[in-house]
């Protein structure tokens, strides 16, 4: 069993920095586990703790502040066999807070060591999320107003299945680290230590005080019974294996002749929830069944079940460049919201355009040929209006034929119809 410390790069921490103790404790844990350097990746954050990866002969990934857990998650999914230890300071807790919560909830098999020394060491002793209110430092009075966070409690609340608090000075730290690394799931240890370079300049803190502080907190020293559950990547793989493989669509054979030659444009003016986009897709598929090129451009708001829904479909034997509607063969009017969105369209239409108008929806003056559709009287549901309008269009043998529509419905809904 050998140390994995990098002989060429001895630690460069300030004299008395507790990071150095933690470094040796981690090395002891690795050593005791009999791990080789290529079985471990140290993912380090920013700040003095961010130097950790350089002191070990292991795989290393050092990235941006607060983001170490994000790299670790991707790496773990790619390399499930790798032992991944993330080192992060108390600063990283704040800037990477969302990632910490996500890691606790996700329960990937990673170990997070928080090197908690109650301040931003590298940048000048500013207050961090764990700085006690009574202390002073680089942020002046700003540091005295914000309540420090107990990361152990946060982790448990967020679902961490292994959470512990420790002192950088406790003898059994390597054993605790080993327990965390061996644990199958997300493990976090809040390791409290001392930063003589910055924190001690204006504050008092001793190993004994750390012990006393820890004693005052409810104990946290390993697996969290209420959060124990299977590890994420194993559950992921189980679910993934049960998913049906998908393929690119087979495509549709051209087997019909379109009723009219040349480019045909259709615009559906409706509202959300009327299945406008589905109807547009069906019209598009009908076009494919006649060997036509198709584009379907949609326009709707972010709101889900309200607001306009507009679909512009072009069927053409030629390649389609511009995907907007310029001179529609048919305008299908299904809801006032859609009409409002394209009010200016109607004035420009002439007799060559067919308007299928739901009789309960008003439209501006137009020279187009209008066919009224009494959806309400026929008790056609709002959600079926768009499809019913396509049926009317096909019945008139305009743009699509009844055979094209049937083929498209069959294709779109498969056996479900």
């Amino acid at each position: 069993m050998t140390s994995l410390l990098n002989k060429n790069r001895p630690p460069v921490f300030c004299p008395g920095c507790s990071h150095e103790r933690i470094l040796h404790a981690l090395d002891k844990a690795f050593e005791h586990m009999g791990l080789q350097g290529n079985q471990i990746a140290i993912v380090s954050d920013i700040g003095c703790s961010g130097l950790f990866d350089t002191f070990f002969n292991t795989h290393a990934l050092h990235g941006l502040h607060g983001r170490a857990l994000t790299y670790a998650a991707g790496l773990k999914m790619a390399r499930p066999e790798l032992n991944i230890v993330v080192t992060m300071g108390d600063g990283g807790l704040g800037i990477g807070g969302a990632h910490l919560l996500a890691a606790c909830r996700r329960n990937l098999n990673l170990t997070l060591l928080i090197l908690n020394n109650f301040n931003f060491g590298m940048t000048g002793g500013q207050f961090s999320p764990t700085t006690p209110c009574h202390s002073s430092g680089g942020s002046g009075f700003l540091g005295m107003m914000e309540k420090p966070v107990d990361v152990g409690k946060v982790a448990v609340a967020a679902g961490a299945s292994f959470a512990a608090r420790a002192s950088a000075y406790q003898k059994d730290l390597p054993a605790l680290m080993e327990q965390a690394i061996r644990f199958k799931g997300f493990s976090i240890i809040d390791i409290q230590g001392i930063c003589p370079g910055r924190y001690l300049k204006q504050n008092k803190l001793t190993p004994k005080q750390i012990d006393e502080n820890l004693k005052q907190l409810s104990p946290l020293n390993g697996p969290v019974p209420e959060n124990i559950r299977p590890e994420y990547s194993s559950v992921y793989r189980e679910h993934a294996a049960s998913q049906e493989p998908v393929n690119l669509p087979e495509g549709i054979e051209a087997r019909f002749r379109p009723p009219q030659p040349g480019r045909q444009e259709v615009i559906l003016l409706g509202s959300a929830g009327q299945r406008i986009l589905t109807a547009g897709e069906i019209l598009g598929i009908a076009g494919l069944s006649a060997g036509l090129n198709v584009t379907q451009k949609n326009d709707y708001n972010v709101t889900v079940l309200t607001g306009p829904s507009v679909s512009e479909i072009i069927l053409s034997p030629e390649k389609i460049d511009y995907t907007g509607i310029t001179s529609p063969a048919a305008v299908i009017v299904l809801a006032p919201e859609g009409v409002a969105r394209r009010e200016d369209l109607f004035g420009n239409l002439d007799h060559k355009t067919l308007v299928i108008q739901a009789s309960d929806v008003e439209i501006p003056f137009t020279r187009a040929k209008i066919v009224q559709a009494d959806f309400k009287g026929k008790r056609i549901k709002k959600t079926d209006r768009a499809l019913a309008a396509l049926r009317i269009l096909a019945g008139m043998n305009r743009v699509l034929s009844p055979e094209m529509l049937d083929a498209a419905l069959k294709e779109r809904f498969k056996e479900k119809i």
């Binding site: 790069r9 290529n38 990746a41 990866d53 350089t54 002969n57 292991t58 795989h59 290393a60 990934l61 050092h62 990235g63 941006l64 983001r67 857990l69 994000t70 790299y71 670790a72 998650a73 991707g74 790496l75 773990k76 999914m77 790619a78 390399r79 790798l82 969302a98 919560l101 996500a102 992921y236 993934a240 294996a241 998913q243 493989p245 998908v246 690119l248 669509p249 087979e250 495509g251 549709i252 051209a254 547009g280 897709e281 598009g284 598929i285 494919l288 060997g291 036509l292 090129n293 198709v294 584009t295 379907q296 451009k297 326009d299 708001n301 972010v302 460049d321 511009y322 995907t323 907007g324």
Partner: protein
């Protein structure tokens, strides 16, 4: 012939899969979400991974981790998400991590309009990273591009070890279009190169005769270091100005000096035309329509559609614009790529047509501006 009808976003997901992408991390955002949805259908059953990240910073962070683990990785987002990705993009550039980002642009600024199209992030894609080092941006025009240009993006990310952004647009990503899948011309798949020779592995030492380092994954037999800090070949922090300058120059060169090898474009040069429309993305489709009409009217104009936007294919642009004096650059923004064209072609008459209202620039509008500005 068998035709299929797919969204541009779906096609991008399939393009990624075809290129060997087996890791996707994303955060829901209109109009890019259907890339996520499609990846979620494709990857898990074939042994790939899809993660829903807590935000876009994490989505790209996960991709960085997975890519360093040896997988081809992608995320998909829109402007507000790309803003969050910025720091991770800088990391991927500076630490030579292959990745692909599909950006389906929506109307900005800021959260803007989630379901309206724009090309408002064209300069942001290039310059939205700290340090200002180059990356590659490709812009699809249609469904075929969404398939094959996505595959090219992966190839470039692997070959040059850098992030590649696909500059899509709501009007491409959420538009369905027919395609005969048999006609797609897929590029040959490129994978990142391992180191050569028997020397001890140095993660940032370039391959012989190349500006790109050989790749070994984190988690393999050899110990691999990756760092966002300014580093030398061994992947440790360096403070040596010469070493720093040489490394950054190499990273600039590897991408900019090679652009002629990956300039994707479509050019229709009309022998007698003095005027050209120079464009990219969905606006190219309106431009094509204009060129067809004008040709039929006996007043042809030339057309240059760029699909490699960054680095700017300067030689190519100069060469293709040699005969023309007038150039119209239409863009779904208020003037972005036109700056590059003005910079390169100082002695030409360049006009800009910008529109930023959530609608497509129409062929009629382009025609009108051509008439106005260049007195056809």
């Amino acid at each position: 012939m068998k035709l299929s009808l797919l969204e541009g976003n779906e096609a991008m997901a399939w393009g990624a899969y075809h290129a060997g992408c087996r890791f996707f991390a994303g955060y829901p955002i209109s109009p890019a979400t259907t890339i996520f949805n499609t990846m979620l259908r494709i990857l898990p059953p074939c042994g790939g991974t899809v993660l829903q990240a807590e935000d876009e910073i994490s989505a790209l962070g996960c991709c960085i981790g997975a890519s360093m683990g040896g997988l081809k990785a992608m995320t998909a987002t829109s402007g507000p998400g790309l803003s969050l990705c910025s720091e991770q993009i800088s990391f991927a550039i500076g630490s030579e991590i292959p990745l692909v980002i599909a950006e389906v642009q929506r109307l900005g600024p800021s959260t803007g309009s989630a379901t309206r199209g724009a090309d408002g992030d064209i300069q942001f894609m290039r310059w939205g990273n700290s340090g200002g080092m180059p990356l590659i941006v490709l812009a699809p025009v249609d469904i075929a591009d969404c398939f094959t240009l996505t595959a090219e993006a992966f190839n470039l990310a692997e070959a040059y070890r850098c992030p590649v952004i696909l500059a899509s647009n709501k009007e491409i990503g959420l538009t369905r279009e027919s395609i005969d899948l048999k006609t797609l011309r897929w590029p040959k798949r490129i994978d990142r190169s391992p180191p050569s020779g028997n020397d001890p592995f140095l993660p940032f030492k370039s391959l012989p005769g190349k500006n790109v380092p050989g790749f070994l994954p984190i988690g393999g037999n050899h110990i691999v270091r990756q760092t966002s800090s300014t580093h030398g070949a061994p992947g440790y922090i360096t403070t040596d100005p010469n070493e720093i300058a040489a490394m950054l120059e190499r990273m600039k060169q590897k991408i900019e000096a090679d652009v002629d090898k990956f300039t994707f474009a479509e050019a229709v040069i009309e022998p007698k035309a003095e005027t050209m429309i120079l464009c990219y993305g969905v606006t190219a489709r309106a431009a094509k329509a204009v060129c067809n009409t004008l040709k039929a009217e006996g007043k042809p104009v030339s057309l240059l559609i760029l699909k490699t936007l960054w680095p700017v294919p300067e030689n190519f642009i100069r060469q293709k614009t040699e005969q023309v004096t007038n150039i119209l650059v239409p863009e779904m923004n208020l003037g972005q790529y036109v700056r590059e064209i003005e910079r390169i072609l100082k002695h030409k008459h360049i006009e800009f047509l910008g529109q930023m209202d959530g609608r497509l620039i129409t062929p009629d509008r382009i025609k009108e501006v051509l008439n106005d500005k260049f007195a056809q």
